[in-house]
Symmetry: C2
Subunit: 180 residues, 2 copies
């Protein structure tokens, strides 16, 4: 098996506001070539914000999948030029749920759909929470902030239909068992 490869051609088909679309050709080291249709995405950060008894979640409409009230952890795209992922996570946490955190730790990162999209999400644990300055809060009437009891974490996992949020909450469930 030779699974090393080089990209030998790349073309853009369409440029969108959030993602773009293209086609790339790769040559494996055994000489065989494959063509992949591809979504270029800037990537994202997601924040598992936890205080003593709660995890901070959001409910928001996801029109693209027809879900009116998707239960998710706070997150945001890496679409600010030159902004480091951790800085983006800190900004997004303030904008989305109005909180800041003293302690930050990257817990995992992953590709959401490695077969056709290069979207990668870096997930942080944010602890020692306190209210962020009001000026940072972004008004979005469609995002509802939900402070969810950790004692009901399994119910949040069961209700969640969003990959990044499932990963973060399953990770948290494992951590809590380890610490107990």
């Amino acid at each position: 098996m030779s699974s090393r490869f080089d990209r030998v051609h790349s073309e853009t088909i369409w440029r969108g506001k959030i993602f773009s679309l293209g086609r790339e050709r790769f040559r494996h080291h055994d000489g065989k070539e494959v063509v992949r249709e591809k979504v270029w995405h800037p990537g994202a950060v997601a924040m598992l914000a936890v205080d003593d008894d709660h995890v901070w979640l959001t409910r928001q409409p996801r029109e693209v999948v027809g879900v009116p009230d998707s239960l998710e952890i706070p997150a945001g795209k890496l679409d600010v030029e030159g902004e480091a992922p951790l800085a983006a996570a800190q900004r997004e946490l303030a904008e989305e749920i109005g909180m800041r955190a003293e302690r930050w730790r990257e817990i995992t990162s992953f590709y959401t759909s490695a077969g056709f999209s290069d979207e990668r999400i870096i997930c942080y644990l944010a602890e020692d929470l306190s209210p962020a300055p009001e000026t940072e809060v972004e008004e979005d009437e469609r995002i509802e902030v939900v402070r969810w009891p950790l004692s009901q974490l399994d119910a949040a996992i069961a209700a969640c239909e969003d990959a990044k949020s499932l990963i973060a909450m399953l990770w948290l469930a494992r951590e809590r068992v380890r610490r107990s």
Copy 2:
């Protein structure tokens, strides 16, 4: 907050082999409209195949994200017309790792990137494994089958960069703690 909405317009921009691209407009029940760029995807199944001491994984190149040996659970797209998800999972398990399972259970389903793609993955637990008839095995020189010891599950979770596989293995880690 009114987060109910109706789709009022849908147009296709591009049709690909695996996914297509479009633009849709939604009207929320407060009258406001949003436009979303969208990937249409057929969806997929993923199989958490577990025997007494091992979980069955694969290593494969993911050219689109530049990973030569992505560690994942077996999976496949729902691209056979009229095939039910469970039947697809059973077929894909045989094709990809050459195994069949007596016991099947849906453990979770999720959207991989609900903001821009309608890809939904249904994840099954497959148990009571035995070799599938040889004729079903699909030859793919790039997919390596890995029988991974459950005692090393945390190492697989740490090495994994693929969302669906992380979800399945974190789910399994939680289950194992619960049963112990």
